[in-house]
Symmetry: D2
Subunit: 355 residues, 4 copies
Amino acid sequence: MIKAGIIGGAGYTGIELVRLLLMHPEVEISVVTSRRYKGKLISDVNPHLEPFIELEYEDVDTKEIADRTDIVFLAVPHGSAMDYVPQLRARGARVIDLSADYRLKKDEYERIYKRQHKDNDKETRKSVYGLTELHPEVADADLIANPGCYPTGAILAVAPLVKGNEGGGRVKQVIFDSKSGISGAGAEPSAKSHFPNLAENIVPYEVTAHRHVAEMRMELSVKVSFTPHVIPSIRGILTTAHVFIEESGAQTKPLQGLRGRGAEPHSDEIEETYKRFYEGKRFIRLRKGLPSLSSVRGTNFCDIGFKREEKSDRIVVISAIDNLVKGGSGQAIQNMNLMFGMDEREGLWFPGLVP
Amino acid sequence: MIKAGIIGGAGYTGIELVRLLLMHPEVEISVVTSRRYKGKLISDVNPHLEPFIELEYEDVDTKEIADRTDIVFLAVPHGSAMDYVPQLRARGARVIDLSADYRLKKDEYERIYKRQHKDNDKETRKSVYGLTELHPEVADADLIANPGCYPTGAILAVAPLVKGNEGGGRVKQVIFDSKSGISGAGAEPSAKSHFPNLAENIVPYEVTAHRHVAEMRMELSVKVSFTPHVIPSIRGILTTAHVFIEESGAQTKPLQGLRGRGAEPHSDEIEETYKRFYEGKRFIRLRKGLPSLSSVRGTNFCDIGFKREEKSDRIVVISAIDNLVKGGSGQAIQNMNLMFGMDEREGLWFPGLVP
Amino acid sequence: MIKAGIIGGAGYTGIELVRLLLMHPEVEISVVTSRRYKGKLISDVNPHLEPFIELEYEDVDTKEIADRTDIVFLAVPHGSAMDYVPQLRARGARVIDLSADYRLKKDEYERIYKRQHKDNDKETRKSVYGLTELHPEVADADLIANPGCYPTGAILAVAPLVKGNEGGGRVKQVIFDSKSGISGAGAEPSAKSHFPNLAENIVPYEVTAHRHVAEMRMELSVKVSFTPHVIPSIRGILTTAHVFIEESGAQTKPLQGLRGRGAEPHSDEIEETYKRFYEGKRFIRLRKGLPSLSSVRGTNFCDIGFKREEKSDRIVVISAIDNLVKGGSGQAIQNMNLMFGMDEREGLWFPGLVP
Amino acid sequence: MIKAGIIGGAGYTGIELVRLLLMHPEVEISVVTSRRYKGKLISDVNPHLEPFIELEYEDVDTKEIADRTDIVFLAVPHGSAMDYVPQLRARGARVIDLSADYRLKKDEYERIYKRQHKDNDKETRKSVYGLTELHPEVADADLIANPGCYPTGAILAVAPLVKGNEGGGRVKQVIFDSKSGISGAGAEPSAKSHFPNLAENIVPYEVTAHRHVAEMRMELSVKVSFTPHVIPSIRGILTTAHVFIEESGAQTKPLQGLRGRGAEPHSDEIEETYKRFYEGKRFIRLRKGLPSLSSVRGTNFCDIGFKREEKSDRIVVISAIDNLVKGGSGQAIQNMNLMFGMDEREGLWFPGLVP
């Protein structure tokens, strides 16, 4: 049994890790920390976990945690993870960090998150960006930077179009317009999550400057715009990707599978590109129609569908994920599975809660 | 034009008063206070009120407010109203208090609200319980204690059965099981109003000991139980009243209109009792079927329907109100209308927002 | 592996059976029928089930189904099950019927459901009411009448008070006021389930005459009233049970554990009664506070909490279930587990989807 | 008093016309038709309208309706309006058509709506596109084609950038990503509006081929893409317009007010452009922040806000409307007001239902 520790186990990401790991046949949760609730039974704070876990929340002691675990999940706020990682790594712990601290290059991180990065040890800083479907090297990593929820759905939606070719480059620009359930804003009540403010509403925010765009640009290397909204839903992110491709006459080598007749790539060729790119990726489900949130509720799947606009250079790609599972804790466990040589599906292979 | 002041104009009750008074043809809002937002434009804090009001929030100055207004609405927390009322009354202001401070007898208030009542002036304390349909004396009042949201819907649901007879007393017991939209909990974010906690849920609370039961008992004088819940809805209170009547063989004089054949009152007689009791009450709508929240959304109506259980001593009466209108600010304006000799409908006579 | 068949596999109950059985380690789904969708891939009709099931919907052939399965679940409308059961039983099939057809005595069924019961074979008609916690004899049954969703939550809420004593009878009367998610109304769109009609609303229906009251009376043998409502939620039933107990001076032998000081049973004694009654029942969670729907979402748990009203003969008991799991398909599987000598938790032992 | 008739008064658009016209001081509703409900009291079918209207639904008789009214609103399905308009116009009736039948040029209509246009009378066909803020000529029209709900929010969002200059043309391309409440899909229950399908979800549809795009192109004359979604909300359309402007070096004459320093137009200049363009338009509210649906709930306002992306050619403009009011029946009344020489605000000047 793999012994897992969770630092920051009272927020939505942490508690979802607990919920999912409890169903994992190869994992035993050995420690969960929370400064706020230390000494309290986890199942008293989270009654849905009774009687599955008998542990109490503990205070954080990185040394002890490294000794008592085979893998440590960090579910702490951005800026805190970099305090724990060097200590944990120094004691040989393998770490999956669900914060943003190890996702970007140091200078990019500091520019975007407007704080200094305190971890200067090049060795321990060596992280793999844990978007499993694009980075098989997670299997060999000791430190994984688990992707942000929005980037997960956005990047997976268009990666085959952007990267699934030899020459690269027929995609000219992508506009990601994302709609997220409010659980992404965390367990702490706020004006944004106040029921009368969100019900019967949809709220755009940080429409030109959300920090997650940096991850999308890092992974996709094309012109990317990103605009998020919160919808009156608990879970889920639906990303509508408006993908613009080079128009006819372009000199660039066309996407393999996007050759098309004339300038327009045909739907069956696009489908082929997606199938080839995601072959063997068990958590990607290519849909004939357009996906919506319900099919992925509570699961680690990323559902993808697309529609080619007629007489146009636009392809609309829709992806749907559960922000707390594939967009967070589930993907972290998927990474853990690969790090420990297991099938990526272990503990995560179940259908969504429909209806 | 009647000049109206609102003390506590930033909570849901206060801001709903502003919204409704802005549509009242005979009223001009002259002052709105808020300690938190003083100096800010009301329409900046509440963008839905732009461009209808150009006032800024002011700090509270009871002397000045008494001078600048014909009527003062108090939309402050329980326990604060009793600070303002004596000062306002001393300066001759007429007051409609939407808090609980003047609803109950002094000793009952102190027992239920667990605080001392500071207003000892018998004269100024003389308030009328502003459940307009039952208390025509509001027309002559200088101080009105506007009813609680739950009591409004509950009392109106069963008053005809309890009070609509000469001898009184065929109703033995009433169990009120109420379901409220979350706006009743106020504008301040809390765990209770946190979207992920309330959506896809219904939450019972204070199931045996909610303070509002005191108003119901005061007005109905029968055995009353009250159990509230919050539902994933912004507005509205649906009250399911389980009314038990004396069974056959009882010596009590039967309800006029509830004579029945044998011991069981018949539905048409019950209907007759309701019609007679609420004759001329324009905001009571007796429904053939069972009411629900949507028809009263945004309105001052109280919709009532009932169903007589066969071979049983139970009548189920359902009432539906908008908690912020008939259950609060609308009823306050209805009271004001009568205090100033106007038709009770003035400024409140419009249909609900359906769908 | 147990081979399971589902007749009526396209409604919410049927498809939830598929979802849950797919996660059951000892079960293999061998046949799922649907007249409407025969020949179509189950996962095409229900995209959340991809890629977990590769079967197509089949037409119903009871003979063949009996041969191909060890257990048959009937998830067909009331009135249809009685067509299948005799044929299936005649071929030796063990059957769990999720309809109402075998829950009540013949004459009671015919009175309540207003149709003739066609199954007159006394032998095959011998069913066990599958409220597992109260009927351990399900383990030996060949035909189980799976309880209705409302009765499951209602009966479990009060059974310890009603039945958990020797002499019986201190509970005088129970009023069940239930609030259900709309999935209980089925997968077929209707005015009731039309989003603009249900959102921001709560709708009472059949407030004195819902058919499920017959099951409650059958199991509890006390004076029972039942009033259902639908709330703007997909899943879940919260039942508020207003329980009235005999007042002081009553001659009846007091409930064991409800002796109390004077006439009033004390909360710790009530708690003791519940604990004793449900000892070893793994899907009953007794809560310190009041339960709500979120903790049971997607699970087979029935959460129960209560509050004793001071100076009163009323106890408010709240139960929360997922109507499609404990109130339907989950309970059916729990019954199957016991019929096949397994732990009742097999395939059903996971925490709820929170948030 | 203006006598108004409504043909098709049982759908959401029709019934919203009734609701709004009942509050209009200068209008009397003289006839409302519905084939389905003819002979029934309007307030029996729509209990929220009791006791405001005493009319019964009538069958359609265009001759009689023309005689009994000063203005006729057509709230019938696309394809039906063209049956009524010629008859009504022949009898001299002034008509506001809320269907799509008279919005587009004949050939464009036939191409998009895939049906023949039966009205060939050039005279009677002469309609004005009733997007009031852009078409002051509605004041002189006898036939108004009331805009679609999506086009209303979309066109108003970007018109100042596209048209608010002399030379025209700095806007290169617009991607409209719209999110609509489900009431836009009508009063008839469907799989799309089935509560369990929509709650906790967001559903993209016709992502490249929604018919409303034709109106947007007609009015804006720039490259337009349009992708709609339905959200779990009753009312409202939030449109996120991703506007791309010509990059530096372009030879086109810059937008007046978009001159900018260097190539990038500055936010205050954009704001200036909007203010100038919508000066005197009372139902346009330019917001400092980003609008959301709640402020416009139940109103005829179109709230607009925008954000300029740094170092980019993208401006994100957000518009919010109530799809049934500004996106339908309210805008129709606004048009009527102007046709009859009244202030455009008559009967429509009230704040939104918040919270």
